[in-house]
Symmetry: C2
Subunit: 288 residues, 2 copies
Amino acid sequence: MDIVSINEVGPRDGLQNIKNILSVDERLKLIRSLEEAGIKLIEIGSFVSHKAVPAMSDTDELISQLGNIENYSVLIPNEKGLDKAKNNGVKEICTVLCVTDSMNKKNINQTVKETLRDLKKIFLETKDSGIRSKCYVSVAFYCPYEGKVDSCYVEDVIGLLLDYKADEIVIADTIGAANPREVKKLLSSIINNYKDINMSCHFHDTRALGLANVYASLDAGIKKFDSCIGGLGGCPFAPNSSGNLATEDLVSMLEMMNITTGVNLDKLISSRELASEFTHMSLKGRMI
Amino acid sequence: MDIVSINEVGPRDGLQNIKNILSVDERLKLIRSLEEAGIKLIEIGSFVSHKAVPAMSDTDELISQLGNIENYSVLIPNEKGLDKAKNNGVKEICTVLCVTDSMNKKNINQTVKETLRDLKKIFLETKDSGIRSKCYVSVAFYCPYEGKVDSCYVEDVIGLLLDYKADEIVIADTIGAANPREVKKLLSSIINNYKDINMSCHFHDTRALGLANVYASLDAGIKKFDSCIGGLGGCPFAPNSSGNLATEDLVSMLEMMNITTGVNLDKLISSRELASEFTHMSLKGRMI
């Protein structure tokens, strides 16, 4: 049977930059609704500066209300974030490396080299603590400041992250500028060079190529995708990055292709309605 | 160099079912504007019943005003239409075969077998007259009345059309229901079974999979696509078929992939503005 895993990033990537900040109770209701629709993996929040990203405040309170922390991941920007994650019993953390210096500086005011040094420590610590670690390789195709990113360089950076024992690499087209041909080419090459890599993909639908890029990734052998209910989100520091690939679009296409997702599309639309209500936005995918 | 041909079907498929019928002068202006943008091949109209499809009236007058008839094609439903095409100096005709009886009956009140018999005669006559013949294999993936269409059967029908000497086969996802996986599978299989086939694709974007299906087709080896300025159109007899793949989306994606189309995107957007003005519709692709 053909199965694809979906990692819902709405509660973190979708909400982090939202105008109408959701309460912990609303975030909790949205997460429960997504679970009710059959979503198994959810990035529920982040331990970042409350001042910089107020929408992600009280992630500790959210975790405490969720009770069970299995199948949830939390984004952390640094070791301080990791400490908070550990203190809150988080089982999976997400880290971010923007592979260009310009973008990485905008994001966390570090060069790529500096972040790699920190990630090495973080992954050592997560291994010791039995926490699963993911690393977003952000702007993996195009950078809003530096343009087309050299794919050989991206592969070398991934090699380092694997040396540092990151458990999962998430290839992110942060500004939704990649085309399916280059997606297939990069992913196939990575899989060829790093045979045992555990890799998933994170697409933005800025230029309406999200679904084409998912198809290209499936063709390259990818079996896990990030997506975001209602296509919410986008990075606050990357111009024109608005709009993650909508979870309902991803599920629709996969189900049309007879690929099992375990997600009930009708219930997912109810989750979208809830997200629309809480964010005061009229959310809609491209397919449905 | 990687080159893809675009056959603009806006003046026929895009306008045939339009509420606000365009004058011959407006149709002429739209065609000239598309040519100015670099579009080389255009389906300019059809010789069908004026009563059934009033928007396609005066195609003979349009041809006479166009002067040169090279690079234009005209749709004909039967031998009577072929006579008109011949009388008007048409160099390329398009025929339509819906591969399910239910859909073919709705379209031209014939069974598939009856249409195949007529097409055999038509292609004999075009060969004798030095006219190039195309055949749309319509509802090639899904029929709105019969559901999923058996791909082996579609291939057998194509085999007959090739025996009858159709010069080009156009695989049409008339209701925009195909997914990229089955597109790649069917097209690869056809290319494998009919080595010398001259085949292009015609996608509708009903479920937002037009671009993904184009990518899947490119992957299978297809080098020519139909598309429609502003995503106009849809078959009047196929429920939910609204929205051809927009030419500006097709060109955008191909150019992003470094595939040469010869089309100037800025000028194409001007053509879309003209189409919006003439149709009184606010036309827009998904990408731009």
